[in-house]
Symmetry: C2
Amino acid sequence: TIVEAIRAALAENSRPALTGPGTALIDAPGPLSGRHAVVTSGPTHEPIDPVRYIANRSSGKQGHAIAAALAALGCQVTLVTGPTRLTDPAGVDTIHIESAREMLAAVEAALPADIAVCAAAVADWRPAIEAGQKLKKQPGGALPPDIRLIENPDILRTISAPGPSRPALVVGFAAETEQVLDHARAKRARKGCDWIVANDVSTGTGTFGGDDNAVHLIDADGTDSWPAMTKQAVADRLARRIADHFAAPTTKDSA
Amino acid sequence: TIVEAIRAALAENSRPALTGPGTALIDAPGPLSGRHAVVTSGPTHEPIDPVRYIANRSSGKQGHAIAAALAALGCQVTLVTGPTRLTDPAGVDTIHIESAREMLAAVEAALPADIAVCAAAVADWRPAIEAGQKLKKQPGGALPPDIRLIENPDILRTISAPGPSRPALVVGFAAETEQVLDHARAKRARKGCDWIVANDVSTGTGTFGGDDNAVHLIDADGTDSWPAMTKQAVADRLARRIADHFAAPTTKDSA
């Protein structure tokens, strides 16, 4: 099965990471030493036929930066990423997938984890039918059938559901084009995750594909709006906040 | 207008190319010196909403290699490319677009040309409606409307239509998953282009995204099947064949 294949790949990947160039990072004592984080990043590609797919504008920069920032604090990190132009972060076990279904299978195979950061822009829907042959123009100009969409698995909600394999801290992302805070707070409640990092991806903000990001961190206590900074700085600040969270167990109830 | 913007960009781009690092290639006497080629490359992205789009698996490797190979023979080359991971070829005026409509506008703005090589994997269809806001999941799990498709402009057929601005030689590409030669010959007749380069992009051939290609060159005289070779070698051979075509005007009637 795909889950077994991913487990095998993880087992394969983790060996060189423990003895190779990433060892220094992983072995370094850090505030997240001994913790395991699963981070998702990038877009998903949802096939229409063998050559066409539905995609989205996520660059993966924010998710990859978070994976690297957590690793720099001593965390063992599994990064599950859709297709991006980025290189795999050093010292991070990176699993490459295309569709939302593959991403969910890879995340579940990577559990247990203390931390899950779902930064990927997972497609909400996929084409209901994946054609086995390339859709071709018809003589007379007849159009192909409308693309009917069906719901993809909800990775953030699945990971957030109570149960023995739920990570202690689940962080979701909300990419919004309007009413950013209202939508993000509703998303946190609906998904059952602990924190939501909300950002505005309206045309013109340059967040998708750009290097900068202005985000709001929403938890049970309220909203913390960070100034605009690079995606790397957002990642570093989020990783430190995660480390503080695990260093202060008495605040766990308000996670 | 977009055409004026592209013309301005072309004028802007062509100046450094004539005096910069590309000068040697462009000024070098070569069999295609004094000729102008327009080459299209890569996929197109057809927007569904501000963050989602329909794409295809074209890497742009073949089209970019053809642009570089023509430039190496002394040709002035305008490359019109969709989003790829590739760097712009040296000595080539490169115009970046996303959608098929933008690609057509950029190609038309680049004319007149002696040669057009349409290697891009232009989307046949685009979503009939581009939503102004990101489509959001609805409470209760209602699905978004089906994606209705409408036909995109046909760049190859448009360029191939008789008229004062038709390039002397128009080369199209046919990416097929079945009955490769039959479909490609029919495409040549239907589009009105001079040559078709046909290849098999079935799952497993590795053509999309890969470095190798096995193609058939179809012209009025028949089919020339080339052995599998790198996309760079296909580009070099095609560029030499184009140069031979222009060096032998008596064979022009059978182009």
